[in-house]
Symmetry: C2
Subunit: 163 residues, 2 copies
């Protein structure tokens, strides 16, 4: 069923393309913490990318435990997406330059000259979504079979994507 | 510093009152999963309440590990709140009737006659927020001292509330 992976990626890309901000949840000393992150606009290929500073708490948190959830919410459209994956910090200059956009100066006024600037990459392993095609957003929509494993995802009360 | 607890509760109440939907993140078999939840409108006293069905995955997840994060995002207002706490399922009939509102029929068509209807209560222990008073939403705003313990919260790059 591996050949269906492109469809899952396409579905997730479609769900995320109109949601600029996500809440990234990490494990922090036994607690779950989240914070807003701006998702990079690029061809989604199974990885999510975010700009961050290497001086933030989340860097230490991810070094200690790199399991993360990225939650996308668009209440106007009744679209919600939960993404699970493993995160890593990427300080590759070429990638930073490739993804940089001047709009990020709102958060990083020194832009590419900021020595703390780095990327957080989330390798997406599972995604679940709730969308506006049904008013009962708690129990909803399509159901996509698990693709990475070839097994069906459990549940089925809403969409579930395994990459 | 215990006497400042009411101020923290007031601040959190003010932050949450215009955000109807939250993403609730739980631990699920070693993975972090989130799903949209509608917050109950009531006098916030340090606990968050949500209606749910006792037939959902999150009930098992919370029984296995009751640490949760509740993330609130209002991109239009640039307001983001991360709440950490412990969750419990509450099947108290009087409390269910007290909090019930016909608008929840969108998710529970049988309303109070639904035998699976129950409440999820999150006892808020820590909250962090980012708000629109500063355009650099990743590194921002006021800083509230830890109140439950009387100690300062770590960090200080954004608001942090301990209840």
């Amino acid at each position: 069923m591996r050949e269906q992976r492109p469809e899952s990626i396409e579905k997730l890309k479609e769900l995320l393309e109109n949601i600029d901000f996500a809440m990234l949840t990490t494990m922090s000393g036994g607690k779950l913490r989240s914070r807003p992150m701006s998702t990079q606009k690029l061809e989604f290929d199974g990885d999510l990318w975010f700009f961050t500073s290497d001086q933030t708490h989340k860097v230490e948190e991810i070094e200690a435990d790199n399991r993360v959830n990225v939650a996308y919410a668009d209440p106007d459209d009744n679209t919600y997406v939960s993404v699970f994956g493993h995160a890593e910090m990427v300080k590759d200059r070429a990638k930073i330059e490739e993804l940089w956009n001047p709009i990020y100066k709102a958060w990083f006024p020194d832009g590419l000259d900021d020595p703390t600037l780095c990327l957080l990459k989330v390798k997406v392993e599972e995604a679940e979504y709730w969308d506006s095609s049904n008013s009962r957003i708690v129990q909803l929509v399509g159901f996509i079979k698990a693709l990475a494993t070839g097994q069906q995802a459990d549940g089925g009360d809403h969409g579930h994507i395994n990459l």
